[in-house]
């Protein structure tokens, strides 16, 4: 059994971080350069961490599988980044951002981590503005904000529809500066394929050069994974096609616990699936819900009609009906589930019946088309490009799609996993969003971890390590890990099956969406576990990977990643089956309020509202690998202790 000690410092919540920084051991400036830190990934978390660690004086080696550190999928975030600046004087504060995030996460996040996130949010904006990130501004030259993702204050900073790219370019510029001055050595087209653990500590990685196929060993005094989320386990998602779980999964197989794998965010406003050939789902920014009204026909019979032919009285603006206070701005998990419910009732629209309308006609009437164009012009253009429909004239059709994973490798307050020396940042860790992430909080967490948290906490671990004693790359553990990688490559290329890796990915995606999607039940999850187990066995018999190992080989790259996704899918189903409650993005049909529950009778909840079970499930599930993929993993628990907030029923009525 692994030990999951959160290492949350004692003291009042609002003072924990300050105290912790003070009591964390520092490394003498002259000694910092003797420590070598491996950072995998250069999205917001990886790039900001690499740059900051190098500025502090550590020797940093950064690895990305892309051709350039600027391409990570952080680049695609549209909406914005939250910070408790209260520039709008609308009552925001660190405490309010903290509370909103804890509540948004349905009381399944670690309290102290979330408070720290809210505290450093303000520093992130300062940092990015100083780097020249062209945030939206008011005419006086000061920063503009908008309300986003259901928040009742305007705390979101943004840069047109491409906040992610602009923040990433900021972090990338900081990384570039440190590459130029020698602080960071950058490896591109370099994919991490194994973690090297020496005497229980993470001390290196095995890397494949995607251009030449060369496998190399790299040692370090600590290893930092900032390798993003695993939503592509569903095949269809809003993730980049290359996004994968491989670095995290190989670390899991080396002993790092996987935290809450079943917590998946399904984003409500994506363009619906149109066919089996589809490779990718496109997100339409959530900001559209500020002015768009979501509806479906009241009657099934009307679904085939043109939206313009459905009278106002025959439309069901279901979010406004069900959540009068938040209406169309209800949080993501709630809006997604509501869309699924109305479609399951047979009231979905579009060819597949899996779609709802997002209608701008009221906004166009109120504001005029030019104002709507000014706000959302690029999104309307993108929608037209993909669907060939003009959303100024007819409502958009949207449907939920996999967008983010709240789960990830388990980390303590220092962002260190249960394998000493292995740190995990950004979407790759599990820590800050609980069971559901609020809009504009992913960018905040990535940059918080990379710029401010890890650089302050890593010295605590490094001070216990003697840099002169770093294991050499010819030691046994490195040799064993490299052989492990070589064996897998040979096995994949040597297999002479009849199916392409992608055909397995599609099959896995369908199984995951069916059994571990927006609504989950025990019988369905059990079926999913079995089916995915069979798929795993079939994979190694039937997959056919073409090409060679010593060459650019995209089939080989994908084949390895898909093998990991299949194993992960099984774990996600197990986690979802174990968690007998509904919370955030995890909805178990068995656990919702009925008319007979006392809470329903007291009027606190409505029948059909999700039922969280704090008495039994207020813990983080940290799954531990049992040695082989067919052995059931071991469940470890970290209890969630709330010192400051009271766990309450999450209501957006």
């Amino acid at each position: 059994m692994a030990t999951l000690n959160s290492n949350v410092p004692s003291g009042p919540l609002a003072e924990k971080w300050e105290h912790h920084k003070f009591y964390t051991k520092l490394i003498n400036p002259a000694n910092k350069r003797k420590y070598k830190i491996i950072v995998v990934g250069a999205g917001l978390a990886g790039a900001s961490a690499s740059a900051t660690l190098a500025e502090l004086g550590y020797e940093v080696h950064n690895f990305v599988f892309h051709d350039s550190p600027r391409r990570a999928h952080s680049v695609a975030a549209q909406g914005g980044i939250n910070a408790a600046k209260n520039y709008q004087n609308d009552g925001d504060s660190v405490h309010r951002l903290f509370y909103d995030t804890i509540k948004g996460g349905d009381f399944r996040a670690r309290e102290a981590n979330v408070h720290r996130l809210a505290e450093v949010s303000v520093n992130i904006i300062d940092q990015c503005a100083a780097q020249g990130v062209p945030f939206a501004r008011e005419y006086g030259g000061l920063l503009d904000n908008r309300s986003f993702g259901g928040a009742q204050v305007s705390r979101t900073f943004y840069a047109r529809g491409q906040t992610g790219q602009q923040l990433l370019l900021g972090a990338y510029s900081a990384l570039n500066r440190n590459i130029a001055n020698g602080g960071v050595k950058s490896y591109t087209h370099a994919e991490m394929l194994d973690l090297v653990v020496v005497d229980g500590h993470a001390k290196g990685i095995i890397v494949r050069d995607l251009q030449t196929g060369a496998i190399t060993r790299h040692n370090g005094d600590a290893v930092v994974l900032a390798t993003g989320g695993y939503g592509n386990v569903y095949n269809l998602s809003t993730y980049a096609r290359g996004a994968n779980v491989t670095a995290s999964w190989r670390a899991y197989k080396r002993g790092a616990c996987f935290g809450n794998p079943c917590y998946t965010q399904i984003h409500p406003t994506c363009i619906p699936v149109s066919g089996d050939y589809q490779s990718k789902l496109t997100l339409m920014s959530e900001s559209l819900r500020n002015d768009g009204r979501v509806w479906v026909p009241k009657r099934k019979e009307d679904c085939g009609k043109k939206p313009a032919d459905i009278a106002e009285g025959d439309r069901d603006y279901y979010l406004e009906r069900m959540y009068s206070a938040f209406g169309n701005l209800a949080p993501r998990d709630i809006a997604s589930r509501a869309a699924k419910t109305v479609c399951d009732e047979g009231r979905g629209v579009g060819e597949t019946g899996l779609g709802v309308y997002l209608d701008f006609s009221a906004a166009i009437q109120r504001l005029g088309e030019s104002k709507v164009r000014e706000r959302y012009g690029n999104l309307f253009a993108m929608y037209q490009e993909i669907t060939n429909e003009n959303a100024y004239q007819t409502p958009m059709r949207i449907y939920p799609a996999v967008h983010y994973t709240m789960g990830g490798l388990w980390v303590d307050y220092n962002l260190m996993s249960n394998v000493p020396g292995l740190f995990v940042l950004g979407e790759a860790n599990f820590s800050d969003h609980g069971a559901n992430r609020l809009g504009a909080s992913a960018l905040m967490q990535g940059l918080s971890d990379g710029y401010f948290v890890l650089p302050a906490t890593i010295s605590g671990y490094l001070s216990s390590q003697n840099p002169g004693k770093r294991p050499a790359t010819d030691s046994g553990s490195f040799k064993e890990a490299e052989e492990n990688v070589q064996t897998m490559t040979k096995r994949l290329l040597g297999n002479r099956g009849k199916r392409t890796p992608d055909s397995f990915h599609k099959e896995l995606g369908k199984l995951m969406w069916e059994h571990c999607g927006m609504a989950r039940t025990a019988p369905s999850l059990e079926k999913g576990i079995k089916a995915i187990g069979n798929l795993r066995e079939a994979y190694w018999k039937e997959v056919n990977v073409l090409g060679e190992s010593n060459d650019w080989n995209q089939s080989l790259e994908r084949a390895g990643r898909i093998a990991d996704f299949i194993e992960l899918g099984e774990l996600m189903c197990r986690d979802a089956l174990m968690r007998e409650e509904s919370c955030g993005g995890h909805f178990r049909e068995e656990y919702q309020y009925t008319p007979d529950d006392p809470e329903t009778k007291q009027g606190l909840v409505n029948p059909g509202d999700v039922k969280r079970r704090d008495d039994q499930f207020a813990f983080v599930a940290g799954w531990e690998y049992a040695g082989t993929p067919d052995k059931a993993p071991i469940l470890n628990k970290e209890p969630l202790v709330y010192e400051e907030v009271k766990m309450s029923t999450r209501s957006y009525k």
């Binding site: 051709d67 100083a130 030259g141 490779s279 089939s555």
Partner: protein, 258 residues
Amino acid sequence: MKVTLKVWRQKNRNSPGSFKTYESPELNENMSFLEMLDVVNEQLANRGEEPIAFDHDCREGICGTCSLVIDGKPHGPHKGIATCQTYMRSFKSGDEIVVEPFRAKAFPLVKDLVCDRKSFDRIQQAGGFITVRTGAAPDANSIPVPKPDSDLAMDAAQCIGCGACVAACKNASAMLFVSAKISHLGLMPQGQPERYKRAKAMVEQMDEEGFGACTVTGSCEAVCPKEISLDFIARMNRDYGVALLKGDPKAIKGGGAG
């Protein structure tokens, strides 16, 4: 619909390449161009032929990974749209479509349709940043930026670093890309202290990488998926000119701890 593809195949930099012709299976006009290539690749793989290598990632027009010259045009037929957001409805059934990699000396070929654009990173490493240490930043609102400047900087900052401008230019010039980067930072007050040093360093690195000179024909702007304006090149030239006139700053004599 069905199309015929004439695709550049090349094993690697050291082997000669050639065009190969493939008949697509039945397609749907709502497929993206890259999804069409996925489908063709599945067909090839099922026949035991190695799939066509091509670069792609986000498939939503922002990461700058996808490339491809389609019928002679980088990023295909539409203005302001990257390859990944080009849809098959832009073509007719029966069309022959020619697909090539981005070609430029500074973008050496990796395989088939994939080229290496690391030269862009090196240009930015030469000076494409504002020197600010993490934690040293003043309050964000202590640096007001006039909205028109900020908006113009944002116009430049939209560049996704794909390299289509280079692929379109008969001189393989990178000036639209470099000028976008220089203008973004040079337009912001935060970028002023290093403005001329930055312009000079980046232009020099651009030349060193083997990119050509500007032809002023504007083919770069025409194919840019973010429609970056040619005006930024004039801005870059001015900053570079001023940098040359100013010369290098004098070396500091002495110094050291007191």
